[in-house]
Amino acid sequence: MTRARELLARATNPTATVFILLVLVFAAVFAMNPGFFAGPSLMAFLKQAAPLVILAAGQYFVIVSGNFDLSVGALVGAQVVIAARLIDGEESRTVPVLIVMALFGIAVGLVNGLITTALKVQSFITTLGMLLVLYGAIRLWTGGAPTGSLSEAFRVPGRMGIEDVPVLGQIPWALLIMVALGAGAVLLMRTRFGRILLAAGDNERAAALSGARVDTARTLAFVLSGLSATVAGVLIGGFAGVSAQVGDGLEFTVITAVVLGGVVLGGGRGSVLAAMAGALVIEGLFTLFNQMALPATLRPAVQGAIIIAAVAYAARARARPVPTATATPTPS
C-alpha cells in the first residue's frame, strides 16, 4: 500500500511530470506515425533537438540560481553571424574562429553575470539589455544582412555523424555532443558548485551566510549559459545555415522548456535532467504538429495552451504533497 502511494507521489512530483509528458508526446507521435521510432528518423529528430537541449541545460544553471537569461537567442544569432563573417568560406579559419566564438560566449556570460551580481541589476533587465545590444551590434557590424559563409568543417558537428551504423544509420555528432554535455551538466550539479547554485536560488541569504560564494557561482552560471549558446550556435549554424533570423525568440522557447521540466522560476528547485527533457518535449511537440499537418499559423496557439496546462498541472502537483508528507510516519 505505502509503496503504491509512494510511487504515486513520485509520479505526481513536478520533475516526474515532464517525463510523463515526454512519454505522452512520443506515444502520440508513434500513433500518428509508427515509422518514427525507426533508427534513421529518430536520429534525425535528435539531431534537430540537440541545440535546444543544450541551451536548456545552460539556461537551467541560470534559472536554478534565481536568475533569467533572455540574451541566449540573440547570442545564438550573433555567434552564427560572427562565424559566417569571420570564416568567409576559408576552411583553415575554422578552428581559430571556433576559439573566438567560445571566448565571445564566455565574455557575454561574464558581462551578464557581473552586471547582475556586482551592480545588482535584476537579471531580467541585464539580459534584456544584452539582447538589445547583441541584436543591434551584430546588424550594425554586418550592415543588416549576414555576410560571408561557413566552411564545410564548421558544418560537420551540426550536420554529420558516424555513418553506416547498423539499425540506426547515422549517429549524429550533435547527439553525441548533447549526451556528453548533458552528462557533464548532471555531474556538475552534484559538485560543490552545483549545490551552491541550488542553495543560492533557494535562499540567497542563507547560502551567503553559510559561506558560499553566491555571486561567483551565479556569474559562472551565466558563463555556462553563454557557452551553451555558443555550442548551440555551432550546431544550428551547421544544420540550418546562416540567416538573419537565427535565434529570434529562442530565449522564450528555452525558458519554456526549462519550466516544463519542473524547474521553478526564481530558483532553488528542479533538476537539469528534467530541464533537458523539457526541451525534448517541446521538440517532440513540434514534430507532432508536423505529423498532424497542423497549419503553421495555428501552432503557437496550441503550443501556448499546452504550456499553460502543463505548468498548471505541475503547480498543482507541487502544492499537494505537502500535507501528506507530514502524515507519512504511520506504522504500516
Binding site: I115, L119, K120, V121, Q122, F124, I125, T126, L128, G129, M130, L131, L132, V133, Y135, G136, A137, R139, L140, G144, F252, I255, T256, V259, V264, L265, G266, P295, T297, L298, R299, P300, A301, V302, Q303, G304, A305, I307, I308, V311, A312, A315, R316, R318, A319
Partner: protein
C-alpha cells in the same frame, strides 16, 4: 544624520524626473552640437507622440509588476484589440462607442484569463502570459492574413489630432496615468497591490484576498493594452496583426523598470513609469534627429537601460539597509 547628504533625501520618483531632465539636457546639447534644435515643435510633437503607445502599455504593466507579476502578452493583446476595433467600426462613425466597448471587453477578458491562471492555478506569470501571447498570435496569424477592418475618419483623429504641440493620444495617456496614480494611492485595492507585491504570504495572513488583487491588476493591464490597440487602429486606419512583431511588451517593461518600479514588486508607482516612458521617447527622438543608425539605437538603448537600473539599484541597496520592511517599532 549622515554628512554626505545635504538637505532632505530625494524620493525615487523625484530622482527619475531629475534623470529625465538630465536626458533632455544632454540630448538637447547633442542635437544642438549637430546644428539642430531638440525643442523645435516638430521634435516635441515626435517625442510626445512616441510616449502615448508605450505609455498605455506601461501603465498597466506597472500595476501587474507592483503585484510581483508580469505580462508578456500585452503586445499581442494590443494587436488583437486593434483588429477588434477596426472590424467592429467597419468605417461607420456610429460604431465607435460599440467598438471601444468591445475592445475593452476583449482585452479585459484576456487580462482576466492571465490573472486567473496566475492567481488560482499557481502558474508563473512569465509562463502564463507567454502562453497567452502565443495563443493570441496563433489566432491572429490563422484568422487574419493582412490588415482588416476600416477605421472611420472621426476615430482616426484620436491618432493624429493635437492641441498645440500635444497630441490628444498623449493627453489621454496622461489622464489614464493620473487615474492610475489615484487608484494606487487612494483605493483599497490599490494599497492591496503594494501589499501583495511586497509579500504575498503576509498580505494573505493580514486578510487580503491576494488572488482577487492579482486578478484586478491583470484585468486593468489587459484593458490598457486594449487602449493601446485602439490607438494603433486610429494611427494605421485599419487593424493590424503585425503590430505584435514590435515587441512592445519589452519596451513597456523597460519603461516600468526605468521608472523605478521594482521587478520584484511592492515598490514603485505610475508617476515614475510616465517618466520612464518619457526617457525612452526622448532617447528615440534624439537618435532620430541625429540620424543614428537604427541598429546602433538598439545598442544604445540596451546600454542606457542597464546603466539606469544599475544606478537605481545602488540607491535601493542603500535604502534597504536603513529601512527594513518591517521595523520592530511598527509591529502591532
Amino acid at each position: 544624520m549622515t554628512q554626505r547628504l545635504a538637505g532632505p533625501r530625494l524620493g525615487t520618483t523625484a530622482l527619475i524626473y531629475l534623470a529625465l531632465a538630465g536626458v533632455l539636457v544632454v540630448g538637447g546639447a547633442a542635437v544642438a552640437m549637430d546644428g539642430g534644435n531638440l525643442f523645435a515643435t516638430a521634435n516635441l510633437v515626435d517625442m510626445l507622440t512616441r510616449t502615448s503607445l508605450t505609455g498605455f502599455l506601461a501603465i498597466g504593466m506597472t500595476l501587474v509588476i507592483l503585484c510581483r507579476s508580469l505580462d508578456l502578452s500585452v503586445g499581442y493583446t494590443a494587436a488583437l484589440s486593434s483588429l477588434v476595433a477596426a472590424t467592429t467600426m467597419d468605417g461607420q462613425a456610429g460604431n465607435v462607442p460599440l467598438a471601444v466597448a468591445a475592445v475593452l471587453l476583449v482585452s479585459g477578458f484576456v487580462g482576466a484569463f492571465n490573472g486567473a491562471v496566475t492567481a488560482y492555478l499557481g502558474v508563473n506569470p512569465f509562463i502564463t502570459t507567454l502562453g497567452t501571447g502565443l495563443i493570441i498570435k496563433g489566432y491572429l496569424d490563422t484568422q487574419y492574413k493582412g490588415p482588416a477592418g476600416d477605421v472611420p475618419a472621426v476615430f482616426q483623429q484620436f491618432g493624429y489630432t493635437r492641441i498645440g504641440p500635444v497630441p490628444v493620444s498623449a493627453l489621454v495617456m496622461l489622464l489614464v496615468a493620473a487615474a492610475a496614480i489615484w487608484f494606487l494611492r487612494s483605493t483599497r485595492i490599490g494599497h492591496h497591490m503594494y501589499a501583495v507585491g511586497g509579500d504575498a504570504d503576509v498580505a494573505r495572513m493580514s486578510g487580503i484576498r491576494t488572488g482577487r488583487t492579482l486578478l484586478v491588476a491583470h484585468i486593468l493591464c489587459g484593458m490598457t493594452a486594449g487602449a493601446a490597440g485602439l490607438l494603433l487602429a486610429a494611427r494605421f486606419g485599419t487593424g493590424s496583426a503585425e503590430a505584435y512583431t514590435n515587441l512592445y511588451e519589452l519596451d513597456a517593461i523597460a519603461a516600468v523598470v526605468l521608472g523605478g518600479t521594482l521587478l520584484l514588486g511592492g515598490k514603485g508607482g505610475v508617476a515614475g513609469t510616465v517618466a520612464g516612458v518619457a526617457i525612452l521617447a526622448v532617447l528615440d527622438t534624439v537618435f532620430n534627429v541625429l540620424q543614428i543608425d537604427p541598429f546602433a539605437k538598439d545598442v544604445l538603448r540596451g546600454v542606457v537601460i542597464i546603466a539606469a537600473v544599475a544606478i537605481y539599484a545602488r540607491r535601493q541597496l542603500d535604502r534597504h539597509a536603513r529601512r527594513p520592511r518591517f521595523a520592530e517599532g511598527r509591529a502591532s
